[in-house]
């Protein structure tokens, strides 16, 4: 509907060794950063994590230091308040440890999404589910659910904007019920339409040798 599709996926093409690294090691490194910062809370950990993430982003994705700092802008208000609070209520070393640690992890996560195409990320997470197939997991249906979800976000966001404009035209934009009800009903109807379309193509159902899943046939 509207141009919200472009907001999804944070991949920006570029050059550097980060772009040539497979998604899995990058994801592990970004997760390891979060674990390390939470588990060993010390000035050394924070300093090392900050230096590493900054260094890797500057060298591995060939970004200027200013661009790396700009990536932190969305989180800046929260980080600033937290730093101020920690510095005044406790001491400034602690403020550095806590806020620096969070900053490093945000950058590490951003390094993954910046240098990995969205489709590769999705493929990676589906591959992650595959070993659990024996336990009843179904990677194909999981992948299908993920792609339906991604396809639906722009539709729902567009619907939300339309509904809000309609409410504003009636002077009701301050009433959240008027704004959200059509959105939620629209989402459920959209899901039913999608489900029917999938069923018509034989997608998303279970194995064919099972009983028909509808148990609401009644007497």
């Amino acid at each position: 509907m509207r141009g919200f599709g472009a907001t999804l996926g944070l991949y920006e093409p570029g050059r550097g060794f980060l772009y040539r690294t497979a998604p899995a090691p990058k994801a592990v490194a970004s997760l390891a950063c979060a674990v390390a910062v939470i588990a060993w809370r010390s000035p050394t950990t924070t300093a090392v994590a900050l230096l590493l993430t900054f260094g890797v982003l500057i060298v591995g994705a060939r970004l200027s230091p200013v661009r790396v700092l700009r990536m932190l802008l969305p989180a800046a208000p929260v980080l600033g308040i937290l730093a101020l609070y920690q510095g005044l209520a406790q001491d400034w070393l602690r403020a550095f440890v806590v806020v620096g640690g969070i900053t490093a992890c945000l950058l590490a996560a951003r390094a993954l999404t910046l240098t990995t195409a969205t489709q590769d990320l999705l493929d990676g997470v589906v591959r992650l589910v595959r070993p659990f197939r024996r336990l009843g997991a179904d990677p194909e249906r999981f992948a299908l659910a993920l792609s339906i979800m991604l396809r639906s976000i722009p539709y729902l966001a567009g619907l939300f904007v339309d509904v809000r404009q309609a409410a504003r035209a009636r002077g009701l934009e301050r009433n959240p019920r008027v704004v959200v009800t059509p959105l939620v009903l629209g989402a459920v109807a959209y899901a039913h339409r999608t489900g029917e379309a999938l069923a018509a193509r034989g997608l998303g159902e279970g194995d064919l040798d099972e009983d028909p899943p509808d148990d609401r046939t009644g007497p």
């Binding site: 999804l8 996926g9 994801a27 970004s30 950063c33 979060a34 939470i38 989180a75 929260v78 609070y85 920690q86 602690r94 806590v98 992890c105 945000l106 950058l107 590490a108 996560a109 993954l112 999404t113 990995t116 990320l121 009843g136 997991a137 179904d138 999981f142 299908l144 659910a145 993920l146 339906i148 979800m149 991604l150 639906s152 976000i153 729902l156 966001a157 939300f160 809000r164 934009e173 301050r174 959240p176 019920r177 959200v180 009800t181 939620v184 009903l185 459920v188 899901a191 999608t194 489900g195 029917e196 999938l198 069923a199 998303g204 159902e205 279970g206 099972e210 899943p213 148990d215 609401r216």
Partner: protein, 212 residues
């Protein structure tokens, strides 16, 4: 015979006791579309409410709605799908953030509480819808309120203590600021869920009469 993912199967078992059927295509797309709904509500600007026009963000509304509308199994699955999408780096959390970095951030506790909130809200909703047709708005409001008080707030406070390094008293003070807005969202979620169940009566209810 299982839902889409192993993490969900445990909860699915508690949700439907005797008839554990496999999800059909509509269940699958309901789960996916509700995950998308939570994402859409989280990333779009909040709605100004009341005379002062204080904006409320609608991420938790989406989470509670998933439980109230889809029930415990599909609701929890929708929230988990949303979390997975956000954790691998899609910008679907509030303020267009995403990635493992949020696990170290101050709001990690709230995010990790969301699937539990949907589970509790869904279980309570199932009980309400199967037993009574009266006072549904009030009962579903209580279900949503119970879910958020039992899961989102305690885990959110824990997250603030661990990740932001706040002492317990300060963490509670930070958390309490969100309580009034949460009550508004619980009321809204209950009103919306009743509308949805009226418009789509077969979504969640209409099972036990065969046995009763």
């Amino acid at each position: 015979m299982q839902p889409a993912r192993t993490t969900v199967t445990g909860t699915a078992g508690t949700g439907r006791r005797s008839t554990r059927r496999r999800w059909d295509a509509t269940d699958l797309s309901l789960v996916a579309v509700f995950a998308a709904l939570i994402a859409a509500l989280a990333i779009l600007p909040g709605i100004p409410v009341g005379p002062l026009g204080v904006p409320i963000t609608l991420q938790t509304l989406g989470v509670l709605l998933a439980g109230l509308v889809l029930g415990p199994a599909r609701g929890t699955a929708a929230v988990l799908l949303y979390l997975v999408a956000g954790l691998i780096g899609l910008p679907v959390f509030s303020g267009f953030s995403g990635g493992f970095g949020v696990l170290a951030g101050p709001t990690a506790g709230y995010l990790l509480a969301f699937p539990l909130a949907a589970l509790v809200a869904g279980l309570l909703t199932l009980g309400v819808l199967r037993r009574t047709h009266k006072f549904r708005v009030v009962l579903l409001f209580l279900a949503a309120l119970t879910a958020s008080l039992l899961t989102i707030h305690p885990l959110g406070i824990t997250g603030l203590m661990i990740n932001a390094g706040l002492p317990l008293r300060d963490a509670i003070l930070v958390d309490v600021v969100y309580l009034p807005g949460d009550v508004v969202k619980d009321v809204l979620a209950a009103l919306l869920a009743v509308s949805v169940h009226r418009a789509f009566p077969r979504l969640l209810a209409a099972k036990p009469p065969l046995r009763a």
